[in-house]
Symmetry: C2
């Protein structure tokens, strides 16, 4: 069994699939998942961290298997009551899900860091690996769009269903953010670093943009590999390909590899793209589609086998 | 039909019964209900205003008829989910009820006053009378107890079920509070002022303690009457009698009338106490028990008839 220490960088649903696969086959205490918090926001007074929750719900088994986010069989009584009092809620908040946001917000106001809050929430749900926010500072991804001007992340992504054309993306507040002590410690001890198959611009770039993060990663003289979010020029889910087009990039795995070139030394591409040559780094071509639990475990296993033999 | 302008001062469940009765038989636009906000507090990041909600739910017909507070047929999915993540919730938050707190909190953070928020919440639920918080300032009733020292109101009242012995009661933050413009306007225009059958120490005193409130009330040369919260030395519900004992007062309606003497010129006692003489003010003895909708309307009607004939 692979028993080295892994740090995985992820966003939400796509990254959670690989997180799940790794979690199932590794000693959990050797796995640290560093999660994007650029999507976090305040709604109805509550602090909502969609990517952290998606990872937490996925690893704890609570997740809704149909959506990949939210809680299985959750109800929406509160949302219906919000409609009765004149609201038109555009962000889905399940009744069980609300408890997570409420406890997080309570602890936030009591002065606990997001790292501490996340550790408490993951531990109480029985998660044995280390789930960490990329930073404890509140940073906010903001999308400048052609049709609607600047939109906060959730307005862009959920309310407008990522349909507006992206002009640019920025991470507000990042200049005052820093890598948390826990994330830095995990990176320092990592035997391998994996960039998950998340959206490179919306999910991974915010993590890499936290001051000190890139330096911490590249200081590690270990395998640092990214898993492709594209198969044959298409995203498995979400707006990765659409955003690449809108930002003027060729929608290819080469673009993704180039985007990560300053931090990675290995790239996992899908076997359907096996003829694409990625220069200057080691590559692995496998079936990266993770549409079943079994395939998630298979991808994780092939990835760990590769890292085990890394030279 | 009585068509004068009434201002009613109330706390929660007890006062809501009279509020309901008056609301059913008066032109609603002539009724203003000024509600205690000393019980308000923050929980899980949400601003909760129990007395305002009890009045709102009662007048809108949403109220749980068995408890007199909360929403009829509400569920507690979120509370159960909070238990799953290690909480032991002591304050009951129904799933529908949560929507009220969430919208209020959202508007609060957006900078709306509690008066504006309350007007929006009552209007959207179809309430046609004027429901106002006693002040827009966040004030907090705090109870000094023999057994547990100082407790915030909800810890005393809900968590410890008003069992600790009361040593004293104070209203934190009241020195910086003021009567809102809307409450002052309603009082200035009132043809009669009614102090509801709420707990004099926990519900009515906080209202009277808001700087400027007593002066505004006594300036009105109109009937200013209190409805007894006691029948034969017992409270219909809640800790009124217990607190009177603990504070060293005789548990009689005379004590209640004396407590209000500087602001009232009339007192409604229960017919079971008709032999008690209250000096220096007009009195009315009626059946004050309001355990059915019909009896609430009856009490309101007798009260208005009395005020109509006031000399």
């Amino acid at each position: 069994m692979f028993d080295k220490k892994i740090v995985l960088l992820v966003g939400g649903v796509g990254g959670a699939k690989l997180a799940y696969g790794l979690y199932k086959i590794m000693p959990p205490e050797k796995l640290t998942i560093i999660v994007n918090t650029g999507d976090d926001f305040w709604l109805y007074g509550l602090r909502i961290c969609p990517d952290l929750d998606t990872i937490t719900y996925t690893l704890s088994g609570l997740v809704n298997p149909e959506t990949g986010w939210g809680i299985h069989n959750d109800t929406t009584t509160t949302l219906s009551a919000l409609e009765r009092i004149g609201e038109a809620p555009w962000f889905k908040l399940g009744d069980q899900d609300l408890a997570t946001h409420m406890l997080r917000t309570q602890l936030w106001h009591e002065g606990y860091s997001l790292t501490e809050i996340t550790q408490r929430l993951t531990r109480v749900l029985g998660i044995q690996c280390n789930v960490l926010p990329m930073t404890d500072a509140p940073v906010e991804t903001s999308i400048d769009t052609v049709e609607r001007g600047e939109l906060s992340f959730q307005l862009y992504f959920v309310k407008h269903r990522w349909q507006p054309t992206v002009r640019s993306i920025k991470l507000n507040g990042v200049e005052d953010a820093s890598v948390s002590a826990a994330a830095r410690e995990a990176i320092t001890q990592a035997d391998a670093i994996i960039v998950g198959p998340s959206n490179p611009w919306l999910s991974i770039k915010p993590i890499l943009d936290v001051p000190g993060m890139k330096d911490a990663l590249i200081t590690q003289n270990v395998p640092r590999v990214a898993v492709t979010p594209l198969i044959k020029g298409k995203a498995v889910k979400g707006p990765t390909a659409k955003i690449m087009r809108e930002l003027g990039y060729p929608v290819t795995i080469t673009t993704v590899a180039e985007t990560y070139r300053d931090i990675i030394n290995g790239f996992v591409l899908d076997q359907r793209d096996a003829d694409t040559v990625i220069t200057g780094m080691q590559t692995l071509a496998i079936d990266t589609l993770m549409d079943t639990h079994e395939k998630r475990v298979n991808v994780a296993q092939k990835l760990l086998d590769w890292l085990e033999k890394w030279t």
